[in-house]
Symmetry: C2
Subunit: 211 residues, 2 copies
């Protein structure tokens, strides 16, 4: 078969080599799938290489070490999820709180597709933080703050449109949402059901909606 | 030194041997400390034996295997925490919602003592459920349901005393509390602060308090 289409093995490939980029991306995609399921500490590089169909020993052509790989995964997941939030929370065809409700529904569908095995990479890594490289802490916090900021913007719009109580601090409520949401994702994995996501969202909306 | 005071090594000790019980308890205590910090999957039996000062190879005198040990730890933690909830939530010297607030404060102090390295064993294991023996799922759910039931009782008393809105379902609100609380514990570990616990609790009380 066309061996030239595959990444070069046994020596560092060039940065401009499309096969290099493709293999690197495949390792990142596989890493995200495995880490959203099992977290960082318990996941071996070998498992990711095997699942990605990349030969053992190739990892260090693409990443400095497991820690550097972890940092790239946190960054990739943070950005992927930021785009997801952007898609839902900035969709002005819906009123602001309906956008957040649509995000919750989408998240439930996403978890169901993966049979509630995959959770949130940031939640998984936050949970196992004591066993992680200390460098991950600021990175994880920054991702959550970015998501909170995006949620805050949506809540401020909900206040402007009269959907949400104006006496509340939108950023504090966005922080509350993300604190509880990570708990809801954890519980959805345990219960193998979207119910905890919906229960948490229902409580949150009741908490902030204008009466 | 008095070797007879130490557990017998190299052969199964008798169930009635006090040294046997003591070593077994020490392994459970150490297991709880390590698993509340690092979870189940990543924790090796060797690490627990080393920390407990029990010689390698002795583990199987006390427990059938790692899975059986895990089941015993979930049970022990569930009961330990049920006693803690009982102490706070059934302390009739305080009004019901103040008891729950006192539990939240106590939990914050507990996390601070361990420098926010240790979280909730049930939350940790729920998070890594996809990598755990399937038998743990029902056990973890049963523990959470027990805690929810205890919290529900306290909330019902708060409704009777006029502190909490009577139009709310106390069990549903207790479920909301535990869904979000596990997220707050996770975030407290990440932020190394009691702030997420307090933020979540403040939102919860605002949600349920009678106006």
């Amino acid at each position: 078969m066309a061996r030239s289409n595959k990444p070069r093995r046994g020596r560092p490939p060039k940065g401009s080599d499309p096969a290099y980029s493709e293999t690197r991306l495949s390792l990142i995609r596989t890493g995200l799938a495995v880490l959203t399921e099992k977290g960082y500490s318990y996941t071996g590089i070998d498992e990711i290489l095997k699942k990605a169909g990349v030969p053992k020993g190739s990892f260090y052509h693409y990443f400095k070490n497991k820690e550097a790989f972890g940092e790239i995964l946190i960054d990739a997941y943070g950005k992927y999820f930021a785009r997801k939030l952007e898609r839902w929370l900035e969709d002005t065809s819906m009123p602001p709180l309906q956008r957040l409700a649509a995000f919750v529904e989408d998240a439930g569908r996403g978890m169901a597709v993966h049979e509630f095995k995959r959770g949130c990479l940031i939640g998984n890594l936050g949970q196992e933080m004591s066993a992680l490289p200390e460098s991950f802490r600021n990175q994880l916090t920054a991702v959550l703050q970015d998501w909170q900021q995006r949620t805050c913007k949506c809540l401020q719009e909900a206040q402007q449109s009269g959907e949400m109580q104006t006496g509340l601090d939108a950023y504090e409520q966005a922080a509350f949402f993300w604190i509880g949401w990570e708990g809801a994702v954890l519980r959805a994995k345990l219960d193998q059901s979207t119910e905890p996501l919906n229960q948490f969202a229902a409580g949150f909306f009741r908490l902030i909606k204008a009466t």
